[in-house]
């Protein structure tokens, strides 16, 4: 039962190295350039040479891609001015070169220490993502880390063509602690990890159709899932947005008054909730007929 390192435990650089063809990664604005946040320096907070995001070119299955990985340990993977500008530049480069762009997300959203600059940066990156999509260049968000994709990065992830998640990944806007503060512990006990994951975790997101693949917490599995999506794109058309509108309306109507995520699971056709809870991502995917 020995296996490789868990994806969610790898560092951003390890993740990229494990995901792309060996030796193919060329980092853009690498650490020796020492492009570090002037905001953090002023606030007396340690800076990092990559400002919490590693970006570059690589090959995956011989195909040219652009790839970025956020460093969740560094200020929660949060997006500041430099961090965001690196991402924006990367997606623009991907659009220009018509090369797919893979984004390994691990971020709580906007970096508060940089104020509104981070917020605008995320909005700019979103625009760049849609530049790719307009050219049918695949944009793929991978969410399988400890921190997940929250806040502005949660929203940004939904702008990509596809989302690949592991059961460990979480996708949302407001985190459990914020919601607990707002609604009270009764409505959301943020220390109830099972509830937290059932609210925002990969399984629920996959079940509802917000994640396109649910894979093992393992770089190899993520690589396989990403490789399958590279050549595809999910065009934004009148037909597609109308279908999505219907789907989201139906979801809200069906489950808008549901508080227990287990009921959502049951409603989506999960028969044995206990077994499904313990199952690995792919096992879960196989057990459930997703309501798409």
């Amino acid at each position: 039962m020995t296996r490789g390192p868990l994806f969610h435990e790898q560092t951003a650089r390890q993740r990229i190295a494990a995901l792309v063809d060996p030796g193919s990664f060329g980092e853009l604005l690498p650490p020796p350039e020492r492009i570090t946040s002037p905001y953090l320096a002023q606030l007396g907070i340690p800076v990092s040479f990559d400002d919490g995001v590693v970006i570059g070119r690589a090959k995956l299955g011989g195909k040219k891609i652009y790839i970025a990985a956020q460093v969740g340990q560094f200020v929660g993977g949060a997006v500041g001015e430099i961090h965001g500008a690196k991402l924006t530049g990367l997606f623009k480069a991907a659009a220009r070169d018509r090369a797919p762009c893979v984004l390994l997300i691990e971020s709580g959203g906007v970096r508060l220490h940089e104020g509104s600059a981070g917020e605008i940066a995320i909005a700019e990156t979103m625009r760049a993502i849609f530049e790719c999509r307009a050219k049918k260049v695949a944009t793929i968000a991978v969410i399988g880390s400890d921190i997940g994709a929250y806040g502005g990065m949660g929203i940004l992830s939904t702008c990509c063509d596809f989302r690949v998640m592991s059961e460990h990944g979480r996708l949302g806007i407001s985190g459990p602690i914020v919601i607990e503060k707002w609604m009270g512990k009764k409505a959301y006990d943020s220390s109830n990890r099972a509830l937290v994951w059932k609210t925002s975790g990969g399984k629920t997101k996959y079940l509802l159709g917000d994640a396109d693949a649910l894979v093992h917490d393992d770089a190899g599995a993520i690589r396989d899932a990403v490789a399958k999506l590279l050549g595809r794109s999910s065009a934004v058309t009148l037909k597609s947005v109308k279908a999505r509108q219907k789907e989201l309306e139906k979801r809200l109507k069906r489950f808008g008054a549901t508080t227990d995520p287990n009921d959502v699971w049951k409603g989506m056709g999960v028969r044995d909730v206990a077994a499904a809870s313990l199952a690995s991502g792919p096992e879960f995917a196989a057990m459930t007929r997703r309501g798409k």
């Binding site: 604005l29 905001y39 002023q42 606030l43 970006i55 070119r57 652009y66 430099i82 500008a85 690196k86 924006t88 530049g89 990367l90 480069a93 220009r96 070169d97 906007v110 508060l112 940089e114 104020g115 509104s116 600059a117 917020e119 605008i120 940066a121 909005a123 700019e124 849609f130 307009a134 502005g152 949660g154 929203i155 992830s157 939904t158 702008c159 996708l171 949302g172 806007i173 407001s174 919601i179 503060k181 707002w182 959301y188 059932k198 629920t204 509802l208 934004v236 058309t237 009148l238 597609s240 947005v241 109308k242 509108q245 989201l248 809200l252 489950f255 808008g256 508080t259 995520p261 959502v264």
Partner: protein
């Protein structure tokens, strides 16, 4: 943090100030507005929020539905987005149902409109903070703000509460870093807002001019550099583009 109390009357006054009598074409339901009006003598589609409301799953869907309606029935009609929202409400059920995806859907609808030739103009009229600004307002081709609007990530006090950095330290730093300051003017210095409109301005005329001038090119990083509030973003994105082309 308390739920803001609705102030319907002021909202209507504001709509009238922006769109004149044609503001009647704007329907307001649970502080979410949708409709059609006139700007500069030409029809515009209007979506938005008022009363500092929260944008939830249902609100995002209503806004999206109206954008789709506009694309289908009124090709190339400019879309004016009014923003007065305190953000997304932290809510477990909303999260469970995928609030982020509802926002993503709204953004996709707006993107489709942009690609189909609709100009997107945002006016921050009241609160324009956090996720609610990101989920549609900041996606405009050009973004404007009334000088009375509260624009930005969050007030210094809130920032201090989360980052544990004392308020005086943040205030002092915000003198040289407008990014840390809260408000329409510092936000404009970052390039996040094209222009701040004051009470003295002829707002309908400015809106008409804004619609005419808008392009789909995202100019915010360039503005931020020019105005000195956000000096790094443009050059870094450019460097990535240049180095990746080698």
């Amino acid at each position: 943090m308390k739920k803001p109390a609705p102030k319907k009357s002021t909202s209507r006054t504001l709509f009238a100030r922006l769109f004149g009598p044609s503001a009647r074409g704007i329907a307001v339901e649970k502080s979410v507005l949708t409709g059609y009006a006139q700007a500069g003598g030409a029809p515009v589609c209007v979506i938005g929020t008022c009363d500092g409301t929260y944008v939830d799953n249902a609100a995002a869907l209503r806004l999206a539905a109206h954008v789709i309606d506009c694309i289908e029935k009124h090709p190339k009609t400019p879309i004016v987005m009014l923003v007065d929202s305190a953000g997304q409400e932290p809510n477990r059920v909303a999260e469970m149902l995928g609030l982020a995806s509802y926002f993503g859907h709204l953004l996709s609808c707006l993107e489709l409109a942009r690609r189909k030739g609709h100009k997107l103009i945002t006016i921050a009229t009241g609160q324009a903070v956090g996720g609610a600004f990101i989920c549609y307002g900041m996606f405009g081709d050009r973004i404007y703000a009334l000088d009375s609007a509260s624009v930005g990530l969050m007030p210094v006090e809130a920032m201090s509460a989360v980052t544990k950095i004392p308020v005086p330290v943040l205030r002092k730093l915000s003198k040289t870093m407008p990014s840390l300051e809260f408000g329409a003017k510092p936000f404009a210095l970052l390039g996040g807002v094209e222009e701040v409109w004051s009470a003295k301005d002829d707002v309908p005329a400015r809106l008409a001019r804004a619609i005419a001038a808008a392009t789909t090119e995202d100019n915010r990083a360039a503005l931020g550099k020019k105005r000195g509030g956000r000096r790094l973003a443009l050059d870094i994105a450019k460097r990535v583009l240049a180095e990746s082309a080698r």
